[in-house]
Symmetry: C2
Subunit: 198 residues, 2 copies
C-alpha cells in the first residue's frame, strides 16, 4: 500500500520547503494529522495572515504591515544614513543595535554568479535610485561576510563611490564571547589589522 493520496499531496508540498527532506516532511505530515482541527486551523491561519498581511516597504523593501514601514516613516531617525542588508532577517539583527539611528535598505539577496544571481536580480538599481534622489551622506554595507556577501559589498562600493557618497563596511574581527582557539585564520588576521589601543 502507498500512502493515501491526501497525505501524499501534503507530504509533497511540505517537502518543497527549504531544509525539509522526505523523512521530515512525512514526520510533519503525520504530526499534523494528529493535531486537533482547531490547532491546524490556527497554524494555517497564522500562515495565511502573515502572507497576506506583510507587504514590502516601497522605500527600504523591509517586510512590514505598513507602507512605508515604521522605520522609514520615523522622523526621529537619521534619514541621511542607509544600512544595506541582504534580507529582512538581517535588518532585524542590525536593528537590535540601539546606537544605530539611520535607515535601511534590503537588497533581497547577494550576487552569486554560480547561482546565476546577477546585479539585475537583487535591488541594486533601486538602491542607486534611492541614493540619487535622497540626501544621503553614508551607506553602511552590512551584507554577509561570506564570499557572496563580500562580492556584493565590493560591487556596491564601487558604484556608490562614483555618486560621491561615503561607503563603509561593518568592521571585521573576533565575535564577542568567542574563543580565539576556534577562530579561523582570516578572522584573526582581520582582528589584528583592526586592533585598537587600550
Amino acid at each position: 500500500m502507498n500512502r493515501p493520496q491526501l497525505i501524499e499531496k501534503m507530504v509533497e508540498k511540505i517537502k518543497k520547503l527549504p531544509g525539509i527532506g522526505p523523512k521530515m516532511a512525512e514526520r510533519l505530515s503525520y504530526h499534523i494529522l494528529k493535531m486537533s482541527q482547531n490547532e491546524v486551523d490556527r497554524l494555517v491561519d497564522s500562515i495565511q495572515k502573515a502572507r497576506t498581511g506583510m507587504k514590502s516597504c516601497s522605500v527600504c523593501y523591509n517586510l512590514s504591515e505598513y507602507d512605508p514601514c515604521p522605520i522609514c516613516s520615523d522622523l526621529k531617525r537619521e534619514h541621511n544614513t542607509i544600512c544595506v542588508v541582504e534580507t529582512p532577517q538581517d535588518l532585524i539583527a542590525v536593528s537590535k543595535v540601539k546606537d544605530y539611528k539611520g535607515l535601511y535598505f534590503v537588497l533581497g539577496g547577494s550576487l552569486s554568479p554560480l547561482d546565476a544571481v546577477g546585479p539585475d536580480d537583487i535591488r541594486i538599481d533601486k538602491l542607486i535610485r534611492r541614493i540619487k534622489i535622497g540626501d544621503i551622506n553614508e551607506i553602511i554595507i552590512a551584507t554577509d561576510t561570506d564570499s557572496k556577501g563580500e562580492m556584493t559589498a565590493v560591487y556596491l562600493a564601487e558604484i556608490i563611490k562614483k555618486l560621491s557618497v561615503k561607503v563603509t563596511r561593518l568592521g571585521y574581527g573576533l565575535p564577542v564571547g568567542g574563543d580565539i582557539e576556534y577562530a579561523d585564520e582570516v578572522t584573526i588576521s582581520r582582528a589584528i589589522a583592526g586592533r585598537k589601543e587600550m
Copy 2:
C-alpha cells in the same frame, strides 16, 4: 526592532511542530513570505484537505479516506491474522511486503513509563476487544525493536496468549544489504540464534 507581530505569530506556530527549532521556524516563515500567494494557498489547502479528509478506520485505526479502510474491507485478505504496528507509517512499511495478506491494527504508540504512556494511553483495550469478537488465529507483533517497542510486545504477548491466540514477533537478525562490521552486538547475537541451515 522585533519581528512584526504577524511574522512572530507564524514563527510561534511553526516552532511547535516536531523537530523544528527556532532558527528553522524563522527560516521557513521567511520562505513562506517569499512564496507566491498561489503557492501558499496550495500548501495550506493540502494541509487542510488531509486533516479533514483522513479518518481513523474504526476497525484497524489506520488513517484512510474511507471507514472501514480499503485493507479492512478487502475480502480477499486473510481476516484471521492481524499484524500489530505502532503507527500508520509503520503499517505502510509492512504493507509494502507483498507476501503478507492479513489485516492490521495500529496501536497508536508504544508503552513508555518514562513518558507516562501506559496501557490505557494506547489502543490495547481495542485490540483485545477486536481479538475477542473476531475469529483470529494469529497476532503478529510488529512494534519497533527499541526498548519501548520491545516492552509493548512483551506486554501484549502476555495478554493475548491468555486468549488462546497464537502470538508471533517479527524475526530479528541482520538487515538485508547490511555490513556485519557495523552491526551491533545484540543484533549479531540475535542473528546467530536465528541462523538457518543453507
